[in-house]
Structures are given as C-alpha cells and as structure tokens.
C-alpha cells in the first residue's frame, strides 16, 4: 500500500527510482529534466542515500559508474545535449557491464536545439550514441503512472543484465501532472544484483562460466570483501586488459547475446484495438496517447485501425513488427522526429507492406487530428497543424 500523488512524469520517475532502491544519484541541471534532480534532492537525503549535483554531465555519469561498480544502484538524468556528453561513459558502463539507469528527457536538436519543447529526437542517439558494438535497453513510458512502473522495471533490468538502461521521456510528458499511485517498495518486484556464488579468491568479474557473470559488491552485507579490477579497455575474465582476439570476440559477442537471448523478458509492448485492424499505427511515449485519441475517432468512423505501442524501444521489437506484415495492410509510424524508429520498422518490414510516417520535429506535440488525417488518407503528407492565431503565440507566423 503506497501513496496517491499528483505529479509530473519527471517527479514520478524520481519517486519511482527511490522506490526501486536507487542508492546514488549524480546529475547536472538541464531543461526539461530539472524536476528529476529537484525531487531527488528532497527525497534522497530523507531516505538516507547520497544525492550529488556534479560539475558537469560527464562527471555525473562517471560518479554513477563508480557508485554502481561498488555495489550501489545508481541513476543519472539528462536531456539531448547532456546525453551526447555522457556517451563515452555510457560505453564504459556497457563494456564493464555496470548496471545503470539513465533518464533522458528528450528535447529537440541538434545542438542546444529546443530546450523547453517536446521531442523524441534521441531514439537513435540512445541506440548508437556511444562508439563500438554494444547492446542497449531503452524504455519509453507514455504517462506518469507508466513512468513509475517502468522506472522500477528499468532498475530491475539494469541489475539483472548488468547493463545500462535508458528511460526516454519527453518535455510533454515531463510537464504533464497527473494523479498517480506510488507503491511502497515492499509492494513491487525489485531485482537485486545477483550475489557471487564463489568466495572472493575464486571470483572473476567477467567469469567465462556465466552468460551474465554476477557483479560482486566490493563489500557484502556479511562482511566479505571482493577485491578485483575492472578496466574500460577490452578485458578478459579477470577484468584486466587483453588484446587476445578470441577473448575480445567472445566478450563482444556475449555483450550482445546476454540481451538478445533474453529478449522476451525485456520486450514490452501494448496492442491497442489490433484484433481486426487493417491499419497499424506504431507510436511510443507521449505520442502514443495522441494516437489513441485518433484511433478512437477513426473507429467511430468505421476505420479498422489499431496501435502497436513499443514500451521497450531498444532492443527493437523485431519479431512483433515482422508479425505485423501478415496481420495488417499498412503501417503508420508516428514520432516527434524526422524519422528514427521508422528506419528500424522499414528494415524489419522489408517492403512487404507500405509504411507511412507522421514525422514532426517542430517543437510541438503531434495532434490527434494529424494522425487521424493520415489514417484516413495515408498517401497524403501531414503538415504542421496550427491556425494562424496559434502561430501568433510563438511571436511569428508572418
């Protein structure tokens, strides 16, 4: 039994992180993510766990890596430009297999872009932002309540798979205050890091005998101390650098396979009115809620349309999207960017059925009416939906 609260999604993510057992937060201020550190600055000292605002974006993720490596659940939060700065360290978390939750409240770009406006422009940055082959898990909730549930899940996935996990929200979601239920920690499933099964002297941080080697805390609750080395270089089972090709290839492949072998556990999605649908809208995050309104309207007009909403954005829902080829006649991808997730959809569908996009990167939310128009008339391109009067609000439009 928990609490009822009226929160925006950013504050909801912050509360959920503490529910999930987040024991360390380091961040740097960036719009539109500010409510996350602001909430945590209040509640983390109350829970008795460290909260720190670091000197820059890079420092904040590196501090999280240190905290997490030592055995503490850690989280950081940022937005587009800050995420670009964090990318090198994100790669370090991938190669050292350090659990980490990274909240990215997406904003428009490139560069400083549109700080206060919603966007979904970091889909590909989340996937491929850091260099080298690496897996990634990214989750995109569609409202504040889901942000709470998915933040808890993000911590669980991070701990279970020794893997950095993204929570991708946007400026629209982060400012939407809604009634939410905040469960107690006892009420939810919380995954703790797998304990090592061997004594310290036999322990290797990247033991070849495991698909996901347990990451030993440096100091266990029963007083044992696991002393080991971890390097950001490619390493062998001991954590020390290696250049031996089979070791490197084994490690690189395992990084991918530890995720892909468990894809069914990681993937999460919602089918909305898809039973008899001929048109499938694919939308995620806050945009999915606009799509839901459009689909309801279209259904009233007798159009057989439904929605596939990936909640796990990465890894890509390959199987589910391939299956759509047999189920529906066309796909409409709706996203607040100029086409990022749609690229993967196009690859998976492989031209078997037509794919259309409602793609907008104008700093304003996609409206249900735009999606509805596209459902009715897929061939026609959708323009920015705004009256002259509305344009005046932005001080322009002449």
């Amino acid at each position: 039994m928990g609490r009822i609260a009226f929160l925006d999604a950013n504050a909801a993510v912050a509360e959920a992180a503490v529910i999930a057992g987040c024991g360390f937060y380091a961040g740097y201020p960036i719009t539109p993510s500010s409510e996350v550190p602001e909430t945590l600055a209040k509640i983390m000292p109350e829970r008795g766990v460290p909260f720190i605002m670091m000197e820059d974006e890079i420092a904040s993720i590196n501090a999280c890596i240190g905290a997490s490596a030592s055995g503490v659940k850690a989280m950081t939060c940022t937005s587009g430009p800050g995420l670009s700065l964090k990318q090198e360290a994100l790669g370090e978390a991938c190669i050292m297999e350090i659990p980490l939750v990274l909240v990215d409240v997406m904003r428009g770009g490139p560069s400083t872009g549109l700080p206060t406006r919603p966007s979904q422009a970091d889909i590909m940055q989340a996937r491929w932002g850091t260099h080298g082959d690496h897996p990634i898990i990214a989750i995109s909730p569609c409202n504040a309540q889901e942000a709470i549930f998915e933040t808890i899940r993000a911590f669980n996935l991070a701990e279970k798979f020794r893997q950095p996990v993204y929570i991708l929200t946007d400026g629209l979601l982060s400012h939407l205050h809604a009634k939410v239920y905040l469960p107690d920690p006892e009420e939810v499933e919380i995954v703790e890091r797998a304990a090592p099964t061997v004594p310290p002297e036999e322990y290797y941080p990247f033991d070849y005998n495991y698909e996901i080697p347990p990451l030993a805390p440096w100091w266990t609750k029963d007083g044992k101390s696991y002393r080991y080395h971890m390097s950001s270089l490619n390493h062998d089972k001991t954590g020390f650098p290696t250049v031996v090709p089979p070791f490197i290839q084994w490690q690189e492949k395992r990084l991918i396979s530890k995720i892909m072998n468990h894809i069914d556990e990681i993937e999460k999605f919602e089918y909305y009115k898809m039973d008899d649908a001929e048109t499938c809208v694919i939308a995620y995050g806050s945009v999915a809620e606009a799509a839901r309104v459009a689909i309801d309207e279209a259904r009233k007009a007798g159009i057989k349309v439904g929605m596939f909403r990936p909640i796990t954005i990465w890894p890509f829902a390959e199987k589910q999207i391939r299956d759509l080829r047999e189920k529906v006649k066309r796909i409409i991808v709706v996203e607040m960017n100029l086409g990022q997730y749609i690229l993967e959809v196009q690859r998976a569908v492989a031209e078997k059925i037509p794919i259309y996009g409602v793609l907008q990167a104008a700093g304003i939310p996609i409206r249900p009416i735009q999606i509805l128009e596209k459902i009715k008339n897929p061939e026609k391109s959708v323009e920015i939906c705004m009256t002259e009067e509305e344009l005046k609000k932005f001080g322009g439009g002449e």
Partner: protein, 191 residues
Amino acid sequence: MGYRYELRFGGVGGQGSLTAGTMIAEAAVFHTKYYATQVPTYTSQVRGGKAKADIIISDEPITFSETTNVDFFMTTHQSVYDAYRGDLKEGAIILVDPALVKNIPDEDRKKYKVYEYPLIYTAKHEIGNVVTMNVLAVGVCIGLTHVLDKEAVREAIKDRVPPAFLDLNMKAYDLGLEVGEKFRKEGPTKK
C-alpha cells in the same frame, strides 16, 4: 463521453496564476472522485515570461491531455490573454483583471462570457497581501463555475498554503467565492 471540464490559468512568470490552477487540479485529485491533469507551459524567461497551466477535470481516466475546448480561462496579463485564448469553447467563461487586461475585443465579449474583477487590487488592499491573488482567483473560479465542490477546494488550499498564511488565504477564498456567486447570478460584466 462523461463529464469533462477544461480550465486555463495564465499569467506572466511570477504572478502565481499557475499555482491557482494547481490548487484546483489537486482539489480534484485528492478531494473528489474526478481525474485531473495539469500541463504547465512556460518559457525560459523565469520572471515576466508568458505562462499558462491547462487543467482537465474528468470523470474518466484522461489519456491524452491536450486542451482544445477550454471552458474557463483566467488571466492577469494582456499578452497572455492575446496569446492563449485560441482554444476557447464558444460561450466559455473568461475572468480577467481589468487593470492588466484592458483590451478585450468586442467580438470576444459576444463570443464568450467575460467577467472583470480587480484580482490584484483586491488581494493587495482588501485582503492585505498580494500573494493571496491566486487563492482569490480560485475562489472566484469555483463560485462562478461550480466545477468542483467548494469545500474540496478549500481542503486543497489548506494543503498548499503555509500555516502562517492560512487565515489570510481562507479570507481570500471566501471573498472569491462570494464574488463568483454574485457574478454567476448577475452575468458577464457589461461594457
């Protein structure tokens, strides 16, 4: 679709108009059976920038929170009035402070029900502290629209205001309710 009421509170950063909206949304969420959402919009200009908060009150879960049929619009600044009256429903209620929103087109007076009340002057001189303006506005809004039970809103105000200012704010709320009820009987301000 069941009951749905959309409110918009606008001002320039620092006036506290958004807080008025938050109190109504919190009243709905914590003290009634309704669902509510609130979406603030503001610029990076911390003081003096245009700001608004859109509130939806509904008896059904609200999945998409865009306000396109605003029933009630309160503002204390001309620039905000000009910028944010686009999504108003025909016959919507508008509450403005005439000292700060001076230029209301005649067509607006025909299309909407415009009420004028010196919110800031009253808060400052009759109640005694200009910060009570937002609670006063909440009172007028509730008295005028009856969108929520007035006692539920009173509870929400109590949750939010500092204890030292409780009496002052209750005075502001009661006065607001009274003014709102009077407006409700008398109809829009004549010009």
